[in-house]
Amino acid sequence: MQGPVRIQLADFSHDEEIRALQAGSKRIGGIATFLGCARDFSEGREVSEISFDAYEPMAVAEMQKLRKEAIERFGLIDARIVHRLGVVRAGDSIVFIATGAEHRAPALLACQWIIDQLKERVPIWKKEITPQGDCWVTPHP
């Protein structure tokens, strides 16, 4: 079984991630997940591919911190965070978060918190590749 926090080129399986989350405890009553995926349009531009660059050691360390903080803050039983690198196409998976708790409310809240924090805190950058040229994405303030 793969670790709970990863940055990887390969795609991943939801079923495997959920199974891995459940493997540690039979007390999980609710699992929330968030999947960020590549769209074929972004702010009016047609996007054919998205490529990612990351400061990998810091990104992984920050994702590990995020997982630990979320487990403590929301009383989770477990959580997993996977982010892809390389090039992805429209419809492909980019980021996956899964949170497991005894009840549904903390799982859902934690999932939202982790994706919001990840976007703020994890050193990864995305470039949209369009028929008109490439463009590094500038996050809204």
Partner: protein
């Protein structure tokens, strides 16, 4: 030697993802920035964050050790 890394849009504007600078005794983070910023003004126009050895650093007067890794980063856009 100090290793300076760039990623994403900053690396694109610098034209490199890695530079090496001679270490000088008493060197601070702000000295590295002062050395590079005039050479790569367009890249540094994007820089909002710096890290030393993988830890985010807010105080640019942080003293640097020899062989450390410095990164100047633009706002993240992962996820």
């Amino acid at each position: 030697m100090i290793t300076v890394l760039f990623f994403g849009p900053v690396a694109e504007r610098v034209g490199a993802s890695r530079l090496e600078l001679e270490y000088q005794s008493g060197m601070r983070l702000q000295d590295v920035q002062a050395h590079l910023q005039p050479r790569y003004p367009e890249a540094f126009a994007l820089v909002t964050l710096a890290a030393v050895n993988g830890e985010q650093v807010r105080d640019r007067s942080l003293p640097l050790a020899d062989n450390c890794e410095v990164v100047f980063m633009s706002k993240f856009s992962g996820g």
